[in-house]
């Protein structure tokens, strides 16, 4: 198992490096010179150069070709890409726009994003799982068809429609809860939207996973032993479905951190989501790249953790 974890760890390192490369290409190499957005062109070239130097935009892009063979010299590595890697790993980046440190921004805002996404995800997960199990229990009945149909229906309504509808409703019922965080409990309005809008897809996915598993031989064995259906579902089936379910949870990690971009904007939650949107619009490259990297890295680590956890819990892998 140690070898397995080690192998996955190496893969994760490569993936994280890949993410850094990709964010570098997408956000830094392609968009070209953005200095004019941050340094008033009225101030002339020297000011622009100072700014470029300050943000290390004056360095060669990937490799310092002037000393291209002398990779043992520090100048060789003194390039934008290297600094990008370094900033990604240390979170030292500063916003182009406000010059704030990324760590400070994240520290200030992440808690709001988490306050929205963590309950939404936990609740959504539990709800989806329970509904999926119940639906799988009644598979083939009208109840199953109704719930599956509802799940599909729920998936098809545009997200925006949910937000507009729910906010409109809340303003009519309890205006103080419709926007902002005047009371901590206000967070449950967007949480509810996230859950409602997301539960359909999860239910459908979990149902497929569970039904896939329900047709396996060991389930028949358990039934032949006289295990009641809930026992079959919860004790035997669910345990075997854990990998896809855990994985689906992990794939949601980026949204834990980045927050629900639109939901936060709409409901006045000062999380990272609106910041991300704003930074993209402002071409605030350090913020965008580093937040993207952060989410991608957490996602990768999450997957790694899933695999390790699963290796711990699944005897077939554990004892390999």
């Amino acid at each position: 198992m140690l070898a397995f974890i080690l192998r996955r760890l190496i893969q994760a390192v490569f993936t994280i490096f890949g993410v850094m490369l990709l964010t570098f290409i997408l956000f830094r190499a392609i968009p070209g010179d953005v200095s004019a957005r941050y340094v008033n062109p009225k101030l002339g070239k020297a000011a622009r150069d100072a700014w470029m130097e300050r943000h290390r935009m004056n360095l060669p892009l990937v490799l310092n070709t002037a000393v291209h063979v002398q990779f043992w010299k520090p100048e060789f590595w003194n390039t934008q890409f290297f600094w990008h890697l370094r900033q990604s790993l240390t979170f030292e980046a500063r916003s182009f726009k406000t010059d704030e440190k990324l760590t400070k921004i994240v520290a200030e805002r992440a808690k709001y994003s988490l306050a929205l996404t963590v309950p939404a995800m936990a609740l959504g997960w539990l709800l989806a799982l329970v509904v999926a199990c119940v639906v799988a229990y009644f598979r083939g009945s009208w109840f199953d068809y109704l719930m599956t149909f509802l799940a599909v229906l729920g998936m098809c309504v545009p997200y925006l429609a949910y937000m507009i509808g729910v906010q409109w409703f809340m303003f009519n019922v309890k205006p103080t809860a419709a926007w902002g965080l005047r009371y901590p409990t206000n967070i449950y309005v967007p949480v509810a939207i996230a859950v409602i809008a997301g539960v359909g897809a999860s239910v459908r996915f979990y149902r497929t996973v569970i039904l896939d598993e329900v047709n396996r031989d060991y389930v028949r064995t358990a039934m032949a032993k006289g295990v009641p259906l809930p026992g079959v579902l919860f004790r035997h089936v669910l345990r075997n479905c854990m990998l896809p379910i855990l994985t689906s949870l992990v794939t949601a990690i980026p949204f834990l951190i980045i927050g629900s971009l639109l939901l936060e904007q709409f409901f006045g939650i000062p999380g990272l989501g609106p910041l991300m949107l704003g930074s993209i619009n402002d071409r605030d490259i350090p913020i965008v790249t580093n937040l993207t990297f952060l989410t991608a890295a957490l996602y990768t680590l999450g997957l790694l953790l899933t695999d390790v956890l699963y290796a711990v819990f699944d005897p077939r892998i554990r004892l390999r």
């Binding site: 008033n40 009225k42 020297a46 709001y112 303003f171 103080t176 409990t185 000062p270 609106p274 704003g278």
Partner: protein, 631 residues
């Protein structure tokens, strides 16, 4: 597995309840007994540094904690400049070049750690000195500070300041010792006397002095907040020069003399202003314009201002949310979103009765501003044919532009000056700023010939035109679509390119735009403020964005700008305005008409067309607000 089914729901429940535990809501008792004003804002506050302030949102908020030497009288019309931090109006030398200004005594900054901390832990304050103004002017001129508008009014006008700017460029950005270099034309004669010397006559200088961008900046702020940082042990340690910033950004660094201090500033989230306890004694005005008495604006005369203790502004990104917050009495005042306009306002531009019954009042005011589409005259197509520009002006249905896009909130602009300027009426409407499709089509034929002669036609057709927009939100895109329709009437194709604001700026500076939307809001009530936008040396200063260049115009401008307000100058102004009307470097759209809704518990609101910082006069009847179901 059983443990799983017990713990999993427990963990989920815990996670779900987590926000309640650690998410601090507004503490309900936080503002107990205080008068709190609630409002929403939707545009980002771009600057907290007086020197870099260049947009109306930032100016609006800065106006409440930064004060300039002079300001506009809040109530009086026509506009009148009155002393604010100055004790009296400036004494101007015979040649009109030297302005000597006596300061009010005993004006204090809001308390701040940079002035030191007393034994009881309370932060100290100090009185404003003349050298604080000197520093403010130096910062505006500072090469390392991104000062747009503020610098534009001083450059080539104040003696020695351009040279100082040159010198400051040779310093490192973080090296603040440059502020010790003297400037010839900006001096503190003594602690209470400040003097500015101009290179040439500038009759509009008094208006410049009334802008809050030149608010005093204590040197302590620069040295303490920009020069040192928290060392994590309760003390401060210096920041290496290379890593210093030059701009004032953080909430705690904002040190002003105004009636309020910035208590909390969370970008794109929340702004809280609190009454500045060190604010000097000031009284509510006792006289105003005709009609103010009847409007109840003088009921509080002689009382000490400010009235409001706390202002809480929430960043609300969506118009929809902002409007609903106003409707449900979460905020005290609101603009009127386009979509709801006709449900709130009658065709006669008055408030619908049912809204009035809810206790809502409508305030209308004209801003001295003109919106237009800028044609880049250096563009190969737009520059090659004056007839094309004239044709577009003639074809554009501005009436419907105002009706469809602004619900009729505006009046058609007929020359580049706002109608409240006296030169406006004298100059009269421009020949091409009217709707005449037939004439436009005739002009179009001419334009084709001109363009053909210049070799700009592609396959015998005018190539697709490009319109750059200053944003991506729906209102802006909607406008793009409308322009498409208008140009389509002449058979022209238009590609609409949404930009973010800095992106558009960048393109404009690089002269990459062909047509884009712009507007100009008067900085002071003088035609010169609008005419300088077409003065060709200003192309390099990035204020002449249409890149319009006309030697005759330039000559007239140079003559007029040092002239005092005489009929002769007005005559020159008119000639210049008419040149623009003839050459059409801009397609004039509208002069905006602004509508604001306030609840009846808000008193003493009178929108000011140019000045800022009148929040101190506002008064809230919180008992009425609670009675009406507000907070």
């Amino acid at each position: 597995m059983k443990w799983f089914y017990v713990t999993a729901p427990a963990v989920v429940l815990g996670l779900v309840l987590l926000p309640i535990v650690y998410l601090r809501g507004e503490k309900e008792g936080q503002y107990a007994g205080k008068v709190v004003k609630y409002s929403s804002y939707g545009a980002e506050v771009k600057s907290l540094d007086p020197a870099t302030c260049g947009d109306t949102t930032s100016a609006g908020i800065q106006g409440d904690f930064y004060e300039g030497l002079y300001t506009y009288d809040w109530l009086k019309r026509p506009l009148e400049v009155v002393p604010q931090l100055a004790a009296e109006m400036p004494s101007i030398s015979e040649d009109g070049l030297t302005y000597t200004i006596k300061l009010k005594g005993g004006v204090k900054y809001s308390a701040n750690p940079c002035f030191g901390t007393g034994p009881d832990g309370a932060h100290k304050t100090r009185t404003v000195r003349a050298d604080d103004f000197v520093l403010a002017y130096k910062r505006v001129a500072d090469y390392h500070i991104n000062t747009g508008l503020a610098w534009a009014f001083l450059s080539e006008r104040v003696a020695g300041l351009d040279e100082w700017r040159e010198k400051s460029g040779s310093y490192k950005a973080g090296d603040f010792s440059r502020y010790d270099l003297p400037v010839e034309g900006v001096r503190a004669l003594d602690e209470h006397t400040f003097q500015i010397r101009l290179r040439e006559r500038f009759p509009q200088m008094i208006y410049v002095l009334a802008m809050s961008v030149y608010a005093p900046v204590p040197r302590e702020v620069v040295d303490y907040w920009l020069g040192t940082q928290d060392d994590g042990k309760g003390g401060r340690r210096p920041i290496p020069v290379a890593r210093r910033t030059t701009e004032i950004r953080e909430a705690e660094q904002v040190v002003g003399t105004g009636p309020y201090l910035l208590k909390e500033f969370r970008r794109k989230s929340l702004i809280v202003l609190e009454r500045n306890p060190d604010f000097r004694y000031e009284e509510y005005p006792s006289e105003g314009a005709p009609g103010d008495e009847q409007a109840g604006l003088l009921a509080d005369k002689g009382k000490r201002v400010p009235f409001i203790d706390v202002v809480r502004m929430d960043y609300v990104a969506e118009d929809y949310s902002a409007w609903m917050r106003f409707l449900t009495k979460q905020t005290d005042a609101s603009g009127i979103p386009k979509e709801v306009f006709e449900f709130v306002i009658t065709p006669g531009k008055e408030l619908e009765a049912k809204w009035a019954k809810r206790g809502i009042r409508l305030l209308k005011y004209e801003s001295p501003a003109v919106y237009w589409l800028v044609f880049n005259v250096e563009d190969p197509v737009m520059g090659a044919s004056t007839s094309l520009r004239q044709a577009l002006c003639l074809a554009y249905d501005v009436e419907n532009h105002i009706k469809v896009l602004y619900n009729g909130r505006g009046i058609r602009a007929v020359n580049i000056l706002p109608s409240s300027f006296k030169t406006h009426a004298v100059a009269g409407p421009g020949p091409y700023y009217r709707l005449d499709l037939e004439a436009a089509k005739r002009k179009m034929a001419q334009a084709k010939e001109e363009l053909a002669a210049a070799g700009r036609l592609v396959n015998g057709e005018i190539p697709e035109l490009k319109l750059d927009l200053p944003g991506r939100d729906r209102a802006v895109l909607r406008m793009g679509e409308f322009v498409q329709q208008q140009f389509g009437k002449l058979g022209l194709k238009l590609r609409v390119i949404p930009n973010d604001w800095p992106g558009l700026q960048e393109k404009v500076h690089n002269k990459q735009c062909q047509i884009y939307t712009m507007g100009w809001h008067a900085d002071y009530p003088d035609a010169e403020n609008f005419l300088q936008l077409f003065y060709s040396p200003n192309i390099a200063k990035f204020t002449n964005n249409s890149n319009y260049s006309n030697p005759e115009f330039d000559k007239l401008y140079e003559r007029a700008r040092t002239m005092p307000d005489t009929p002769e100058r007005t005559e020159i102004y008119v000639r210049m305005v008419n040149m623009i009307s003839r050459d059409c470097p801009v397609l004039l759209l509208s002069e905006p008409l602004s509508f604001v809704l306030v609840y009846d518990w808000v008193h003493n609101v009178k929108p000011h067309p140019i000045g800022y910082g009148y929040l101190k006069y506002q008064r809230l009847d919180t008992a009425l607000r609670r009675a009406r179901g507000g907070r």
